[in-house]
């Protein structure tokens, strides 16, 4: 057959976009190049925090990407909705990380369209782990990406969150987790501030506090930038879906946090 769909399109039996693209058009996919002696310097994304709220999960990330001691971007967005029920945030080599997010979003959408039903939350997390494992070659060369994945199972109120390592290991976290260079400081902050029944507004505030703490002590993490009106990206996922908290709202909460700290002389 010369015109129309070639045989891959009509005879493929896979419900995975990645598998299909590997068969039909491998050149469009990111792939490890063998034998690079030295990995070129590339921007890296940093701190992501995520925790369970009263009726779902929250995920937030700062907006900075660094390249060595240079700030590569002030406005990068590292937390995205994966689909209408889950969110993904990535730390590590920014170019690969954003590509992985795009591929993962498409993977979920593709499955949903081919099968007529969405993947389960565990299914999504396992799929993400498999995609990381496929990226191991690049990770070994120093271009590692580490995601954090959270969401709610359709019909359920409780949020769940998963962390991963570069080899594709998947670990379900109990209450909260943080990844990236500022994660140690952010996690310390969450240990003091987090509690199980946080409402949306209070949850956003806790996330901002954690990110400000991370930005305070980690040079690769950016705090809220009032001069340019750049706020951290905050996503909430619950039974009604995923929504991004408007930037203006986040900035308002951030200024309240900063004001409270100045007043208490806690800076």
């Amino acid at each position: 057959m010369t015109a129309g769909f070639d045989s891959h399109y009509l005879s493929s039996t896979t419900n995975s976009f990645l598998t299909f693209a590997q068969q039909a058009a491998p050149e469009v996919l990111p792939r490890p190049t063998a034998g690079i002696a030295q990995v070129p310097q590339a921007p890296e994304g940093t701190t992501i925090v995520s925790f369970k709220t009263g009726h779902g999960v929250l995920m937030a990330g700062d907006r900075r990407a660094t390249m060595g001691n240079v700030i590569a971007s002030h406005t990068i967005e590292k937390v995205h909705a994966a689909d209408s029920r889950s969110v993904i945030g990535i730390a590590g080599a920014a170019g690969l990380a954003l590509e992985l997010i795009r591929l993962f979003q498409l993977e979920l959408e593709h499955y949903e369209k081919i099968e007529g039903t969405p993947l389960s939350l565990d299914g999504k997390a396992n799929r993400l782990a498999a995609m990381l494992r496929a990226n191991l070659g690049l990770a070994m060369q120093g271009l590692a990406v580490v995601p954090l994945f959270a969401g709610v199972e359709p019909g359920s109120e409780a949020g769940r969150l998963f962390s991963f390592d570069v080899t594709g290991g998947k670990y379900e976290e109990v209450n909260f987790h943080s990844i990236g260079s500022g994660s140690g400081f952010a996690r310390g902050s969450l240990k003091k501030l987090w509690h199980p029944q946080l409402e949306d507004g209070a949850a956003v505030r806790v996330a901002i506090e954690a990110l400000i703490d991370a930005a305070d002590d980690d040079s690769a993490t950016g705090g809220p930038d009032f001069m340019r009106s750049i706020a951290p990206v905050v996503h909430l996922a619950d039974a009604s879906g995923v929504r991004r908290v408007p930037e203006s709202e986040v900035l308002d909460i951030a200024s309240a946090v900063v004001a409270a700290r100045a007043e208490g002389d806690r800076s």
Partner: protein, 273 residues
């Protein structure tokens, strides 16, 4: 030793076309029509899981009649085509025209070279940014394409439905009203409305905030639309009484629970001829 018969190309094509047409005529109809904020895809389909209507991409919907396995193959190929193109370039670069071309080429190639043509008819619907850019493409078993304007029907009773809707324009009507007109046209002429349990419906909706505009209408949602539209339904030959009740009358032969093929070809009750 048998001598191969000579069959003229005209006869060969005619036979194939007739074969495909017969297969399609046995299926229940599908109707795609525009309304003021988008496009409605509507099918008579007792199965709630074997779909005749589907999402291809952000703004592209798919509707088909005929043999389930054949149009399902084409649907999946369309999803793969759209997703791969959107990933390689950008989501904005996936167009119904490109997809329709691929379908047309595939159908034409199968029609002329394979031992049996596809017994399917397809509608590819694309939602424009503005109403004037909405597109409805109708594809036949032999790969021929038609660009329709306001509404398009395929399947067994396609002609009867098109005739009924010939004088009606739904493109400037709200969702509920256009939906009720569609259900009326799909239901037997002069008979009661099809119960919502036997309908499958979806809309490509210009007003959704998300990049994915396709949404399925559940049975309760369809019943509600019919109830909303009832006052304005008087211009049809048959008032829509009883159609608004979701639990509706139960005289339909193929109620849920019957795991028959989605296109309803197992029973020829709905056949035109």
């Amino acid at each position: 030793m048998s001598t191969p018969f000579y069959v003229s190309p005209e006869q060969l094509m005619k036979d194939r076309a007739e074969f495909a047409r017969k297969g399609i005529a046995r299926g229940r109809s599908v109707l795609v029509l525009r309304y003021q904020d988008g496009i409605i895809l509507l099918a008579e389909n007792p199965s709630s899981t074997l779909h005749k209507i589907a999402e291809i991409y952000d703004r592209i919907g798919f509707a088909a009649v005929g043999k389930y396995n054949e149009f399902e193959t084409l649907r999946q190929a369309g999803v793969r085509y759209a997703d791969l193109r959107g990933y390689s370039y950008d989501r904005a670069d996936v167009t119904a025209r490109g997809l329709t071309n691929a379908y047309a080429q595939t159908l034409a190639a199968v029609f002329t070279t394979e031992s049996k043509p596809f017994e399917v008819e397809i509608v590819v619907a694309e939602l424009g940014r503005v109403a004037a850019d909405d597109r409805l493409y109708r594809l036949s078993y032999d790969g021929s394409v038609a660009d329709e304007n306001d509404h398009v029907a395929i399947g067994g009773q396609a002609e009867a439905i098109s005739q009924q809707l010939a004088a009606v324009s739904t493109a400037d009507k709200p969702l509920a009203e256009a939906f009720a007109i569609g259900v009326r046209a799909l239901s037997p002429t002069g008979g009661p409305l099809l119960p919502v349990a036997n309908l499958e419906a979806a809309a490509l909706d210009r007003t959704t905030g998300s990049h994915r505009t396709f949404r399925r209408l559940s049975d309760p949602a369809m019943a509600e639309l019919l109830t909303t539209a009832q006052p304005g339904d008087g211009d049809r030959q048959q008032p829509a009484e009883g159609g608004g009740q979701p639990g509706g009358p139960v005289e339909q032969p193929g109620k849920p629970g019957k795991p028959g093929p989605a296109d309803g070809r197992a029973d020829s009750a709905g056949a035109d001829s």
